[in-house]
């Protein structure tokens, strides 16, 4: 029997976006003059020729089912001339060129249960990863963490209460696909991998696993007469980098896999240069289905920032102004030896001056 005929792929790559853009955006491409923020979740952009478009942004559950997707299409058809886009943080956005449709569009989104907001100085929707739903190495869930946290931060998403915008991210392992955030809730493993020596020899390409370790703690070994790998547990930093290339080196654990909170990551070049997030709290239990301990810490940090931050200060700028000792004082979080950097370039993170606030 002849083999079934296979279809050759069309290597079209990234498609042209202009065909899916609202005509007012196509018409005014590169010709915008300024924008205003009429209300939370709504942007008004004015073109040089006076054309105006209103954009309505709403938070979604990110993992969309086709029913929800079609609801978003229905709203787009009825109020937004059949166009839609998604933001980097999985918010839906509709852009319209008539103010008459603005309030009905906002109302329709709210009526269907979407959260209108996430613009200007609000807490934006959490950007997140796949978690237990789909990832092969997750230490925790992602969608559930986000749902739990956004339920608690709903008022902060739909209002302008913060000194400046707050981007929160989550990552379900230490590889940190969630990226940098003003606040990041990331998995923190606390124990070295548990190795199933009966499988390593057959499943893992041992030299590549050895090469993956950031601290050279893994070496080839014969264990019970079988080729395997062993970990110098004193050196091991429990990052889990060996686990993806070698699943028998199980890093996840129902107790030892915990959460940590990092703050002050800021990707923008606005005012200061971009910054990476810094560790502020660890030892937080990975506690489904609602992760209340992690949420409480995030809310505490947000409360302090809201109270103490000046207009336009992002979280990193607020802390740089008041100093880290003050940050730990106002948030009540413990300062420990684990906060003091010992990775490459660590000296740059130590204080080599007498600049001290008393």
């Amino acid at each position: 029997m002849a083999a079934p005929e296979m279809r050759e792929p069309i290597e079209s790559g990234c498609p042209d976006g202009f065909q899916y853009m609202h005509p007012a955006m196509r018409r005014n491409f590169g010709l915008w003059a300024y924008h205003e923020d009429p209300m939370p979740g709504v942007l008004l952009h004015v073109a040089k020729n006076g054309d105006k478009v209103w954009t309505v942004k709403a938070g979604t559950q990110r993992i969309l089912d086709v029913f929800t997707l079609r609801t978003l299409c229905d709203i787009g058809d009825e109020y937004a001339d059949g166009y839609m886009r998604f933001t980097i943080r999985s918010n839906i956005e509709y852009t319209i060129d008539s103010e008459d449709k603005l309030q009905p569009l906002v109302d329709a989104l709210k009526d269907k249960g979407f959260a209108v907001g996430g613009t200007r100085n609000s807490v934006a929707s959490l950007s997140h990863t796949q978690g237990w739903l789909h990832c092969d190495i997750p230490g925790t869930d992602a969608s559930g963490v986000v749902k739990s946290m956004m339920d608690e931060l709903y008022e902060e998403f739909t209002n302008w209460n913060m000194p400046n915008r707050v981007h929160i991210t989550t990552s379900c392992c230490q590889i940190n696909c969630g990226g940098q955030g003003d606040i990041a809730i990331n998995v923190q493993h606390t124990k070295p991998p548990k190795i199933d020596h009966s499988l390593v020899g057959n499943v893992c390409e041992r030299p590549s696993v050895v090469a993956r370790c950031p601290v050279a703690a893994i070496r080839p070994a014969m264990v019970d007469g079988q080729p395997s790998l062993e970990v110098d547990e004193k050196k091991c930093i429990c990052c889990g980098a060996c686990y993806p290339p070698c699943p028998p080196m199980q890093i996840n654990d129902h107790e030892a896999t915990q959460l940590a909170v990092w703050i002050g990551g800021n990707h923008s070049n606005a005012r200061g240069k971009p910054t990476f997030q810094r560790l502020v709290a660890a030892g937080i239990p990975n506690n489904p289905p609602r992760w209340p301990e992690a949420t409480a810490i995030v809310k505490k940090i947000l409360d302090c920032y809201k109270e103490g931050g000046r207009d336009w200060e992002r979280i990193n700028e607020w802390v740089e102004r008041i100093g880290w000792p003050k940050f730990f004082e106002v948030t009540g979080l413990p300062f420990t030896k684990y906060h003091i950097d010992n990775w490459r370039g660590a000296r740059a993170n130590l204080n080599s001056s007498t600049h001290i606030r008393f």
């Binding site: 792929p9 059949g82 237990w132 940098q180 590549s208 005012r271 489904p288 490459r344």
Partner: protein, 422 residues
């Protein structure tokens, strides 16, 4: 449907409460109300496994290797480790599909995608994953080729997965932002579509990402996450509408303006005139965006627009997080030749890294290992003081090529001067 045994999901049920949209409510609707029994069963199995993860605090998916005919990547295979307990979702592969730059869709196209996915997959999708792909989550081994064939016919192609050039990302851009300094769409497509072979057939040391942000606000996190970050900028004076500025001062008062705009300028290049006009020392403006973020009606980017290119940004694995560093301080992107130039630069960079990068080593890590100067020489870019925060401050350096290097610098300056003089 009636005889389907539903897995109990007491922990997931808790996630239906609260004001934020609930993915669990969506899943249940698919399980209970979708007309296709196959989908009811798949979602039932998926929820059963997810509940099991919530109860045991462990994940149960493992990877593998699959792709569509003709490609080597683009699909994230997932096989359940607890498939005997939840056989309906035993195979749950994700197809990564490249969106348009800026993530624009028509509702017609969205419905078409939804129809195809409902026919072949689970009916769950994400717009978008962290790399920037549309994630069609949940296809089995016998169906993903059909789904791909169907959407590929009407204009959609797979993105990258594995050691390859990945799907690119761009901000909303010139389509709806006054701060945009470049055509993000054109840059995005010129770059990533010059590498379709490297997207579809993973054969590089590790991943390589392009991200395009139209201005230094960098809404796409390009500097922190992209091997090749393109950031729109301008090199003439920013535009100030003094009437609109004075109206702002009038409205907000001098103290507010001093506290929130003038004194917050990164390079201290702004002052307020006696007549409330905005005085800007343009030679000292570092394009830190603050003033135009606060008063977009009065201040905006200049006319001589282009891009800054940074190299080597990445997240944690393996040596820790790295920011991109300036490779090209300014590049004009207007003519077809300009676009050819940026594509050639990207090709040079990918080629050099493909030859010199170690397995699983990102460009930024390779640069850490070999040194930035060796990298510059490898790809044929001249040193520029905009690349550094400050010159080296440790005396261990061998300088026996100094005179030639200085000569090159002066020659370059002469050439630049001659070019300007025309």
């Amino acid at each position: 449907m009636a005889d389907m045994k539903k897995y109990p999901t007491p922990m997931l049920d808790v996630l239906e409460d609260g004001p934020w949209p609930s993915f669990i409510t969506g899943f249940k609707k698919m399980r209970d109300e979708h007309p296709d029994e196959r989908i009811n069963n798949v979602i039932n199995g998926l929820m059963g496994q997810l509940e099991h993860s919530y109860e045991t605090r462990m994940g149960y998916w493992k990877g593998g290797t699959i792709s569509v005919y003709g490609y080597g990547g683009g699909i994230i295979p997932r096989f359940s480790e607890v498939g005997d307990s939840f056989p309906e979702s035993r195979e749950f592969h994700t197809l990564r599909v490249q969106p348009t730059p800026g993530n624009y869709y028509s509702t017609d196209m969205m419905r078409q995608l939804a129809d195809s996915w409902e026919k072949w997959g689970s009916g769950l999708q994400t717009f978008h994953g962290q790399t920037g792909n549309i994630m069609f989550i949940g296809s089995d081994t016998k169906s993903y080729q059909h789904f791909f064939d169907e959407i590929n016919e009407y204009g959609w192609d797979l993105g990258g997965a594995g050691p390859c050039v990945r799907t690119a990302m761009s901000c909303v851009g010139a389509a709806r932002c006054e701060q945009s300094c470049c055509n993000e769409h054109a840059i995005h497509r010129h770059l990533v579509n010059s590498f379709t072979d490297d997207v579809h057939r993973p054969a590089l040391p590790y991943k390589f990402k392009f991200k395009v942000s139209g201005c230094p606000n960098d809404c796409q996190n390009a500097i922190e996450r992209a091997d090749f970050a393109v950031i729109g900028t301008w090199r003439d004076h920013k535009k100030i509408d003094q009437e609109a500025w004075k109206a702002y001062v009038e409205e907000k008062g001098v103290q507010h303006v001093m506290d929130n705009v003038i004194s917050r300028c990164t390079s201290k290049s702004l002052s307020l005139g006696d007549d409330n006009s905005l005085i800007a020392d343009e030679t000292n403006c570092v394009r830190s965006m603050h003033c135009m973020n606060v008063v977009p009606k009065a201040i905006g980017p200049g006319d001589d627009k282009g891009v800054t290119i940074l190299v080597g940004g990445k997240r944690t694995l393996k040596i820790g997080d790295l920011m991109g560093v300036v490779l090209v301080p300014f590049m004009k992107l207007e003519t077809e030749e300009d676009y050819e130039k940026i594509v050639e630069l990207a090709e040079e960079m990918v080629d050099f890294w493909a030859e010199n990068g170690l397995e699983h080593e990102r460009t930024g890590e390779m640069i850490e290992r070999i040194g930035f100067v060796n990298y510059l020489e490898g790809i044929g870019i001249d040193p520029d003081p905009n690349m550094i925060h400050q010159p080296r401050n440790v005396s261990y350096v061998r300088t026996d090529g100094w005179d030639e290097a200085a000569e090159e610098w002066f020659n370059k300056k002469r050439e630049e001067k001659a070019a300007v003089a025309g």
